[in-house]
Amino acid sequence: MFFWNWVKYSTSVLSTEKRNASPVLSVVPGTDRLVLPSHSSSAFPSLGSLYTNRGRREGGSMEQEMGELRRYRTQSISRGEFALSDSFYFYRKGLESIVDDQVTQRFSSEELVSWNLLTRTNHNFHYISLRLTVIWGLGVIIRYCVLFPLRITLAIIGLSWLVIGTTLVGFLPNRRVKNWLSELVHLMCYRICARGLSATIQYHNKNNKPQKGGICVANHTSPIDIVILANDGCYAMVGQSHSGLMGVIQRSMVRSCPHVWFERSEMRDRHAVTSRLRAHVAAKSNLPILIFPEGTCINNTSVMMFKKGSFEIGGTIYPVAIKYDPRFGDAFWNSAKYNMVSYLLRMMTSWAIVVNVWYLPPMTRQEGEDATKFANRVKSAIAHQGGLLDMAWDGSLKRDKVKEEFKEQQQKMYSSMVVGKKARNSQEPHTESTRR
């Protein structure tokens, strides 16, 4: 209990610093231009250092840079023309991206401004003082010897109760009592599991909580997101059916209330997936579906492209923004680096998991809006609320390569500076010769 009070106190003290939600900064892919919203709040200047392109020169767009490069030339750049120095812009951008780049950054943990006494967030370790090392040592002892055993016990209790409870409820025939009991069991188990992670969750705007027959959409940082959201309401989970321990949990959960588990082969067939989800949503008494449209875990500093599949199902979308406080523990699951078990162990040996969850007002697809636009609209709303960077890059870039179209975009932009806005036509050589 003492620990809880301490966590609550420190979060309230520290969170007064950033009480207002920060405005969204969108990054146009392929350039380094930041697009500010028209209604920036006063909180922006202090967060600027965290959310702008870190370490990147304030060089501005391609046009600006090229203009500077060509300033010494007598002709104006509006006439077009190539200069030998044009390539410097591309060299520099290329080298900058070799040294660091925005997208790869998102797939590794966020760097903290000041150290929080966890070795794992300590990237450039400098020995500062004996006192700090002693404090850190104390921290290790507390975390591993005191907190960790407590948390493991709670987690085991929580999970086993989930399996047992849902199986028991599954035996009941009656519909209403069954639903009520299943909700009770689910909530209880998730709450125990959340305590097992020392998760302190604050829910905002509870009046916008997802209703039955809707689709709940959230940004994805780790598998713990499910526990966080399910602490406050019951959702129907969507996902791949696994084997082993996860499979046991999944199968028992399905007994008490309908979730949507897919076989791996079914996942490939998008139509089958969509129709099953649609059927689930159409039955108005079913719990709201929980979907993470990014498709992969991102490190909670930005929101990446939403896959449009979830937005084609129809129904009302309830967006939810989840933001972890990185000072107490790093919740991001870097699936390339850690497997599930070591990830959970790391979670249980952090200080705490402090989360803010914002329920956003429900959205529906408007007339004439296609799924992609709708997805982007929802994404911007979530990024805006959570104070995350709204990126148009695809989360699957973690594993795949980028599309050719982006390269063509760069070439197009550059060519409009060299030959002007005219497309390729036979008049070109004539007009160029008249310039001389």
């Binding site: 392929g30 870190r54 370490g55 990147r56 020169r57 840079e65 500077e68 490069l69 010494y72 023309e81 190539f82 200069a83 030998l84 120095s85 044009d86 390539s87 410097f88 812009y89 591309f90 060299y91 520099r92 951008k93 290329g94 080298l95 900058e96 991206s97 070799i98 040294v99 780049d101 925005q102 997208v103 790869t104 590794s108 760097e111 300590n122 990237h123 450039n124 370790f125 400098h126 020995y127 890059w393 870039l397 390569k401 980028v402 982006f406 390269k407 063509e408 975009q409 760069q410 070439q411 197009k412 550059y414 060519s415 409009s416 060299v418 030959v419 390729r424 070109e428 050589p429 160029e432």
Partner: protein, 194 residues
């Protein structure tokens, strides 16, 4: 990630690198972390594919050329030392250094930067940018957006402007002259630490 000291000890010949390139040990540790992050298979060397995995670089019109600059002719891998040496060209110039004619030209001086840029154009390393080489660069930067005639006329014009000894190619001196007013240090430098 470990302490600076332990990472530094993993890198052989650090003092030599520091002397040669002018990077501080902190910079070198950062670059080493980046090198390791790019070297996904932990071979200790980078291959062209490892660079190709960087998305921003993949959409850069002359990305392939930049990658090529890291690999000496005939070599298929680049080790950490060469990696750092190439990146050192883009370090901002040290303004306070006294001009010492007996010391070799520092790797990030204006001349060295220009030489590096020149080499990116002059792929066959004959000391001149021929018309064909210029056309190649133009083609990568503009690709589908302009016609072949437009490309050729742009190349012709550029050579005409810069070529002073009328040998239909741009030598390093001519290159340097045509860019003498450009603030090279500003345009060809990147910040290495966040």
């Amino acid at each position: 990630m470990g302490s600076t000291n332990s990472t530094l000890s993993k890198i052989p010949n650090v003092e030599e690198l520091v002397q040669e390139t002018g990077f501080t040990p902190a910079h070198i540790v950062r670059l080493y972390d980046r090198f390791e992050a790019l070297d996904k298979e932990k071979t200790g060397h980078l291959r062209p594919q490892d660079f190709g995995a960087i998305n921003r670089l993949a959409i850069n019109p002359i990305g392939d050329r930049i990658i090529g600059a890291f690999f000496s002719p005939g070599q298929e891998t680049v080790d950490f030392h060469s990696f750092v040496r190439i990146l050192a060209h883009f370090r901002p110039a040290d303004k306070k250094r006294p001009k010492d004619p007996s010391m070799p030209e520092p790797v990030n001086s204006r001349t060295s930067k220009l030489k590096f840029a020149f080499q990116l154009y002059d792929q066959d390393k004959d000391g001149k940018i021929s018309r064909a080489e210029l056309l190649q660069v133009l083609r990568s930067m503009l690709e589908m957006q302009v016609t072949e005639e437009q490309l050729e006329s742009i190349a012709d014009r550029t050579i005409q402007e810069a070529d002073l000894d009328t040998d239909d190619a741009i030598s390093f001196e001519e290159f340097r002259k045509s860019l003498e007013k450009v603030n090279i240090d500003h345009k060809m430098s990147i910040r290495f630490l966040r």
